[in-house]
């Protein structure tokens, strides 16, 4: 029990139902939209929603999609996304979305219905051990057993979801708690007993870091989704710091947009399918400044071959991310806004003494790598190369207020490589968990938050089908998301790995009997379009963007195209493969590398 719950002044004497307490807490927390699906154990909450007009409820068609939509809402606004589902299957269907949000640090509060407290443990109809099932896939979770705890738990959940390293929080709400009498407490009356993550950086560590940065001859900034999570100010501060130092910067998949992608100091994305210049800069650098990234295996490649000669600085809000995969020389546990602000101030105090010339040879080397144009591809013939489709889509939308979501696979990597992001929170993709089916519902969440924006979902023929039922949601709420399926009739990334590492045996990666996506869109009441040649492509893109309401575009692309560059599993950054001409070398991959995913 908190001190706050004992304070008599804190208690609102007006008696409310548990459902009303939940809604009032949501309003006080600034929530205007929730994504959900009703069922027996949440009927009192739905009844309360029906009788108010401060919160919009968006009815999805599957609970997994509710979480992805809330993720899209959260990641494009910086606010907490809210989900409401029923007990049993409603709750278990959220597990993929919750795990996705945990891996990618997305603040979510997920309210799940539960059977009444006296029936818990009886194997009641639609009962599941929701707190047990979701414990490993949430940042924290609660089962509310007493109405007097309800308001406190609601406010605590928002605090936990959004502070520190953000993440999903589940609140399991038995039906009798929703219906019983409960007292309301305001959010300012609740202070968490134990959870107060550190925000301020250690001044001495900042000095050590800036000393290293100032002395560097071959520096590189390596930034990730944590910086985006820290918000626009953190990204703006970082942009200033990078520009004032004149150092190169590379971004992770999750960090795209944290720094303007078209800026000459940006080396683009690093990692398994990152650019040659980004990966070689990581390999050969003498000082690496990692901010809000976690040395993920997709980024590091083989650990003992990772940037062998560098001093490493790691700034992260999560102490458990530090020294997890890679031992670093200076670690700073802090919010990126505070840490980057402190770095910038420290840099300005000494920048006069730092010569820009000392990094000139490093830049000359980087420009050599850049000249190889590692993202090049050959668009010959009338057929559409998937990279061409992304580039044309980018050209057609770059001047508009655009958000992009993706699913998972080849199309995701091509989108990351060929669509350029100038601002944070514009690029939404499932990075950590790699959830096929993420993109379309996430796009709906983005569009709910930004009704006037152009929201693109770049998907694949396999991924899109995983949550295609959400087209009904798009129609119901008139969400004009423009979806572009790069259709190669394969699970393309699976097929690519089978080609490289499993003797070209395409076990279950060929999509036989795909639906006619144009007719499918029409069946839902949306607009369906198709492009099969480069000539058609621009017209179809223009038509899709000009069409009101949701549009599904079937872009029939070259079926055999592979994603390059590629660092095969178990290889180091300097073993990057640039093009199909390098393909023969894949047979040399080690057993050890083969077991990696």
């Amino acid at each position: 029990m908190t001190a706050a719950t004992l304070a008599p002044a804190a208690v609102d004497t007006q008696s409310m139902t548990g459902s009303q307490v939940v809604l009032r807490a949501l309003v006080e927390q600034g929530v205007d939209t929730i994504f959900g699906y009703p069922g027996g154990a949440v009927l009192p909450l739905y009844d309360a929603i029906f009788q108010q007009d401060k919160i919009r409820h968006v009815l999805v068609r599957h609970e997994q999609a509710a979480v992805h939509a809330a993720e899209g809402y959260a990641r494009s606004t910086g606010k907490v996304g809210v989900v409401l589902v029923t007990s049993g299957p409603g709750a278990t269907n959220t597990v993929t979305g919750l795990t996705d949000a945990l891996m990618d640090s997305v603040p979510i509060v997920c309210l799940t219905g539960q059977v009444p407290t006296h029936m818990i443990g009886n194997d009641a109809f639609q009962e599941a051990d929701t707190v047990g099932i979701t414990r490993p896939c949430t940042k924290h979770n609660y089962l509310v057993k007493r109405p007097e705890d309800l308001a406190r738990v609601m406010h605590e959940a928002f605090h936990v979801a959004r502070s520190g390293r953000p993440g999903p929080v589940v609140i399991d709400l038995p039906k009798n708690i929703q219906m019983g009498k409960a007292l309301y407490q305001g959010k300012d009356e609740v202070r968490h007993r134990s959870y107060h993550p550190r925000r301020e950086p250690d001044a001495e560590r900042i000095e050590q870091a800036i000393e290293m940065i100032a002395r560097a001859e071959r520096p590189v900034f390596y930034v990730g989704g944590g910086l985006v999570n820290a918000g626009h100010e953190a990204c703006a501060l970082l942009t200033e710091l990078v520009r004032e130092t004149g150092y190169p910067i590379t971004q992770t998949l999750m960090g795209l947009g944290a720094y303007p992608g078209s800026d000459p100091q940006s080396l683009g994305m690093l990692g398994m399918h990152g650019t040659l210049e980004a990966n070689l800069a990581m390999y050969h650098c003498d000082v690496m400044v990692c901010i809000g990234a976690r040395f993920d295996d997709r980024v590091t490649g083989r650990l003992d071959g990772f940037s062998p000669g560098s001093k490493k600085i790691h700034i992260d809000i999560d102490p458990s991310s530090i020294n997890k995969n890679i031992a670093v020389d200076v670690s700073v546990v802090a919010d990126a806004v505070e840490a980057v602000g402190a770095l910038l101030a420290a840099w300005r105090r000494r920048s006069n003494s730092v010569s820009r010339d000392k990094v000139a040879p490093w830049w000359a080397q980087i420009e050599e790598w850049r000249k190889k144009d590692s993202l090049r591809f050959r668009q010959d013939g009338a057929g559409i190369k998937p990279q061409t489709a992304i580039r044309r889509l980018y050209e057609a939308t770059r001047e508009s207020d655009v958000y992009v979501t993706t699913d998972v696979g080849q199309h995701q990597m091509w989108a990351a490589q060929h669509f350029t992001f100038e601002k944070p929170m514009r690029w939404l993709t499932s990075g950590g968990l790699g959830t096929m089916g993420y993109g379309f519902p996430a796009a709906l969440g983005v569009q709910m938050a930004h009704p006037e924006a152009t929201v693109l979902c770049i998907s694949g023929d396999a991924s899109w089908v995983m949550n295609m039922q959400e087209m009904s949601t798009a129609i119901q709420y008139r969400l004009p998301v423009k979806t572009f399926i790069l259709n190669n009739s394969y699970m393309g990334m699976v097929r690519q790995w089978q080609d490289f590492f499993h003797g070209q045996r395409h076990a279950s990666s060929y999509m036989e009997s795909l639906p006619d996506f144009v007719k499918l869109a029409e069946a839902f009441g949306a607009t369906g379009l198709r492009a099969t040649t480069v000539e058609e492509l621009d017209q179809v893109i223009a038509k899709a963007l000009a069409t009101e309401g949701p549009v599904l575009v079937d872009v029939v692309v070259d079926r055999e195209e592979n994603v390059y560059p590629m660092i095969p599993g178990g290889a180091a950054h300097n073993e990057i493969k640039l093009s199909p001409e390098d393909e023969g070398q894949h047979e040399a991959i080690s057993e050890e590398g083969m077991v990696l995913v």
Partner: protein, 170 residues
């Protein structure tokens, strides 16, 4: 960083709420870390706090990761690695049952005597001893008396001297 595995005694002060132990155990099982011993009991009724004593083995990096992950759990107030943070006292309690004829029991009683174990139950064919001491002392006693059944409480530990593990504020 050192690669060799080392035994660490870690104490954790937590809110005594449902599921807190499951969170701690899940953290170990979910990531494949070892638990050699784990004890938990409420230690502060007024604040509703429990203390968990964990004995685990791992490389320096793994131990650092375990402590960071424990510290991240929402109901956790404090994490202290007694193995690193100065001298401490560790104790464990065991109940040890010995069966046998009169001669065997007398032999066990003699061992118990010089090892400071207490006889807490006896019947014509059985003795139950209680022994408190370090884990090593318990191991030695158990190997000498050849018991038929052993119940061990797990390690409890506390720092020596003036240092105190308490929650911040609250």
């Amino acid at each position: 960083m050192a690669e060799e595995e080392r035994r660490h005694t870690i104490v954790v002060l937590v809110d005594n709420e449902p599921g807190v132990l499951a969170r701690v155990i899940g953290l170990f099982s979910g990531r494949g870390y070892n638990i050699e011993s784990l004890t938990v009991a409420q230690v502060d009724k007024v604040r509703g706090q429990s203390r968990i004593n964990i004995v685990t083995t791992g490389t320096e990096l793994v131990i650092e990761q375990i402590k960071a992950l424990l510290g991240k759990l929402v109901p956790v107030h404090r994490v202290q690695d007694l193995t690193i943070e100065g001298p401490h006292v560790e104790r464990e309690l065991a109940l040890v049952k010995v069966l046998g004829d009169r001669e065997q029991l007398v032999r066990a009683l003699r061992i118990a005597d010089f090892m400071h174990a207490r006889l807490v139950d006896s019947s014509p064919e059985s003795f139950v001893f209680e022994m408190t001491g370090t884990s090593d002392e318990l191991d030695a006693f158990i190997s000498l008396v050849e018991p038929v059944e052993v119940s061990r409480a797990g390690v409890v530990a506390i720092g020596r001297g003036r240092t105190v593990l308490a929650s911040n504020g609250a």
